[in-house]
Assembly symmetry: C2
Homo-oligomer: 442 residues x 2
């Protein structure tokens, strides 16, 4: 059973080294993919629709005669929604409502109104917050087609006030995913094109005759899509390029071991590179979880993926105490952190770095993935040290506002001129001095 | 005089084409620079201090015998501050105080406290906001050494609550800039190393025995620094890679033409690629500004740079009216937008995309560059469509917080399981179902 998952103990002298080896993940850049993506982008940039059409017909085995014919009518999304089994439709609508409610709260609480204040001399300073005009959402086709991702990417944009949301989703061999189209209808996506790959990223970034240019592209995709997104960054905004998904569970030993085993599986089933780690001060509890893993694994349809992921990247780690577990969690800066313990807030207060925290034994990560409300697009690979969940703020931007009164210009002009001369920028200095009553216009 | 700066008229049929040609700016990637930066990063990553020391001695013509000897004592920063002429010191301190006050306001107004709310069944949802642990600030050496940049990069980090700020600044031939060191003292920079280039970026991103790893690197640099920052992105956070600086002035014709001419100069003097554009509905006023340009230019110490910048990238544009000027401004999405007009708020309300807006004829952009308070690190090259001024929020990150009550788990578990089965993720579904009273633990 030892081969199912690595066991570590924080008390061993080489623990930190072994932990770092376990966490190490180097995103390999494939030169061939980089080159192919660059070529497709260049052709879309120069040839527009013609290049998008050619690539789509070729890669997705389609026979479209125009990019316009690859756009889906709103009625098609509505029909997909109407075709769903009632329980599934209800679940999707309930998830969307909760995600919307959370992000509306986020919008209200995160300074979306901007601010403005006036100083004694009449000078006004502040910040204006505005939504992006138009956003593109990439949705993968085929097996990784997740309707929940449509909700998680589109709803914050909608709540932010983005005027137009354009979704692209490849439909290889013309096969459409009704759940994805239904999610687009519920989320309020404005237009849908059945295109994908680097050609879709290029079309959104540069615009074509048929597909309007967007200001930002979000959503997951394969290696070609990731390479293309990295390349168009700067022309448009992009979200983070996600690494393999991760869960870190801190458990005080009071949660049923089966629950924790299944939580580890729920991350491991994503793909072989996903990482599931459990920290616990109780070695016997770790034994019990290992027993649960061994017993439950054969029941899982995706057991091969889970087995590989747990064996290569998973770990059960015995820690000194819950305080040390929190320290290690801050070092790992995990995408998902479950604190499956009595009084989880005590430990949550000690956490500085995590994409999302799931507190208490009833909060399985899967609830957050679908319907708790907060976003499931989260920073991976230790980037929670400096980045945040996808949110309303990703679809807004800020502009500083400066109004200097005539009186204010007298005081500020002297300061600015002094510093500008110090930096050798005389036009800056003169521009400030011209507004001075004693140094203005000749 | 026609060769001084391009004249355009929005009424001409090819106007948009000509405008786009004027705005077009392609950041060229130099393969040799990319390769050199990659090599230096790789050597710093594997050899740490030794590589940093070797590169610093070679590129900056230094004879240091250890990286530790390249660290400056706090007393050296304080001595630099004490050495300044009183007016210059007062100006620097006054600028810092105003920048600090603005960013403290920003922190208070932008949701830095996070939020938390409780639903009827006891489920709690929210967002925790935390500062980054440690930030690196890159400060260029030589001619582009701007103390104002030290203030603008360090103060928001400090206000955000970053515990340690590490500044790197190359000192070619050992020459230190006292204004830069004084600014570091005022801004509260914690440690300063006299290193630069890709080796400094690598040291901050990966950490060495002497230089601690940071979570984010901000601040401007040359092409090697920019290439290195792009490469370490993901390992650490970075700020935007800035393009050439830009100013767009919208004037209703009521501002003294010399003032506007000098405002255009103040951008153009940065470098030959900087862009200065004026929009005005009054052709005679544009003639007057052109006269001012011709008369004032020979007085400017940096007239060669200004002349090239205005000739190649500047424009005076006759527009139909102020409304059209605002439409064009939104299309340009400028870094700096001056609305030099009566009742500037009327026009500011119509602006959706700008890094910073300078309202009223007394608000020269140079006041904002130094001491108005808002940040001077702003999105360039139309990226104001989707990005924001550097701010306190760039030194904070958010974590979602989800606590689902036992009762909440009954309702949410069914929704999550239904959607997880729909996505073929059975472990996700089972993980949620185990928390149901009728479907839990065997």
């Amino acid at each position: 059973m030892a081969s199912l998952i690595t066991r570590l103990n924080s008390g061993e002298p080489d623990f930190l080294q072994r932990l770092h080896a376990l966490l190490a993940f180097e995103a390999t850049e494939d030169e061939a993919i980089e080159r192919a993506a660059a070529q497709i982008l260049a052709s879309v940039r120069t040839q527009g629709d013609a290049a998008v059409l050619e690539a789509t017909n070729r890669f997705d085995r389609m026979q479209a005669d125009s990019v316009a014919s690859l756009e889906l009518a709103q009625s098609e999304m509505q029909a997909a929604l109407d075709s769903l089994a009632p329980e599934r439709r209800a679940a999707l609508e309930s998830a969307a409502a909760r995600v919307r409610a959370y992000h509306e709260r986020q919008k209200a609480e995160c300074g979306s109104d901007g601010f403005m204040y006036t100083e004694a001399d009449g000078t006004r300073l502040g910040q204006k917050v505005t939504p992006l005009d138009r956003v593109g959402i990439y949705v993968p086709g085929g097996k990784a087609a997740y309707p929940s991702s449509v909700l998680m990417n589109a709803i914050p944009a909608k709540v932010a006030g983005v005027k137009e949301i354009i979704m692209v989703v490849p439909t290889p061999d013309g096969v459409k995913n009704p759940l994805v189209l239904a999610a687009a209808a519920i989320a309020g996506v404005d237009r849908v094109f059945t295109i994908g790959g680097a050609q879709a990223v290029g079309a959104l970034a540069y615009g074509t005759d048929t597909i309007p240019q967007v200001d930002k592209i979000v959503g997951p995709g394969n290696a070609y899509v990731a390479a293309a997104k990295r390349r168009v960054f700067g022309t448009v905004g992009i979200d983070m390029i996600a690494g393999p998904s991760e869960i870190l569970v801190i458990c005080d030993g009071t949660t049923p071991p089966d629950w924790v085993a299944m939580d580890l599986f729920s991350q491991a089933e994503h793909d072989e590179l996903a990482q599931s780690i459990l920290l616990c001060p109780d070695n016997e509890y770790l034994d019990a979880v290992l027993q649960s893993i061994a017993r439950l694994l054969p029941q899982m349809p995706r057991q091969d993926v889970i087995r590989t992921s747990l064996a290569n990247r998973g770990a059960l780690i015995k820690v000194r105490d819950m305080d040390e577990a929190c320290e290690i969690a801050n070092r790992i800066a995990p995408e998902h952190l479950e604190i499956s313990a009595e009084n989880p807030d005590v430990w949550a207060d000690k956490i500085r770095h995590a994409g999302a925290m799931f507190l208490g034994r009833f909060t399985s990560e899967s609830l957050g993935d679908y319907c708790a409300g907060p976003n499931h697009v989260l920073p991976t690979s230790r980037t929670a040290r400096f980045s945040s969940p996808l949110g309303v703020y990703d679809f807004q931007k800020r502009s500083s506002v400066i109004y200097v009164s005539e009186q204010g210009a007298q005081k500020l002009g002297k300061v600015a001129a002094e510093l500008a001369y110090g930096e050798g920028l005389q036009a800056h200095a003169r521009s400030a001095e011209m507004r001075l009553k004693d140094g203005g216009e000749a």
